[in-house]
């Protein structure tokens, strides 16, 4: 049952990811990426990480993709639709990609570290409580650093996108 669901979500996410890369219109890419993120959040649910699945939907689908669509609306994408896209136009990059993919596949299928079995001791229902205890006790400093980074990015984005005076 789990395997069938995993195969369904994985196939859908791969197809939508291919659409992101191959679509000519950036709006189609953005919508396909949104669908891909939804599939990935379903995979997070399969991995018993419901908090991450909800964060994925809120942050990626709700915030980041809406930001992308706003920017696409602000700028003129008609020129971008016209430009040609040749997958074979950049041969060294293509060779590099094939090598990278084959290398990672061989390493994953070769090694026996990835054939670990499922942990027997299932965590109870207070998984999110334990997660937040770890996050706010052991990882408090990185958490604060992340909030400072977000604030700096906010200020930086406003300064960058502002019209220059004079």
């Amino acid at each position: 049952m789990d395997q069938a669901f995993f195969l369904l979500f994985a196939a859908a996410s791969v197809i939508t990811a291919l659409t992101v890369v191959l679509a000519r219109n950036p709006v189609h890419s953005a919508l396909a990426l949104m669908a891909c993120f939804l599939q990935i959040s379903a995979i997070f649910v399969l991995l018993e990480a419901p908090l991450l699945a909800v964060i994925q939907i809120f942050v990626y689908v709700g915030a980041i993709m809406v930001l992308f669509l706003f920017v696409i609306m602000m700028i003129d994408v008609r020129e971008a639709v016209l430009q040609r896209f040749l997958p074979g136009g950049n041969l060294p990059a293509l060779v590099l990609l094939v090598l990278l993919g084959v290398e990672m596949l061989v390493l994953v299928l070769w090694s026996d570290r990835f054939s670990v079995t499922e942990p027997v001791a299932m965590r109870g229902g207070d998984q999110i409580r334990q997660l937040s205890m770890t996050l706010f006790a052991d990882y408090l400093l990185p958490f604060e650093a992340a909030s400072v980074i977000l604030l700096a990015a906010l200020v930086g984005a406003i300064v960058l996108a502002r019209k220059e005076q004079g």
């Binding site: 992101v20 950036p26 991995l47 700028i75 990609l97 993919g101 977000l150 960058l160």
Partner: protein
Amino acid sequence: MVPLWWYILLGVVLFVIGAAGVLLRRNILVVLMSLELLLNSVNINFIAFGRYYDDFRGQIFAIFVIAITAAEVAVALGILVALVRNKSTLKVDDVTMMKG
């Protein structure tokens, strides 16, 4: 139950697709979206390993990756808006201002 290497394989496939988008496409918007795809494939790996080795740190690092991604997208789209306003181009090849 789903074996661990299925998840890793999915992460590999999504990573290669995202890298293809970064390396082969010439539209800045699509390059940025492919970067999102790369970061998401890494997140799948983090959470899968965290689940199978029964460790919360995978999920915690995934939360940090998501936060950094949000910051990155905000800054990148700000730069993109400024770029379109000043040079009115969306092609990666046309942006050579920093070239020595």
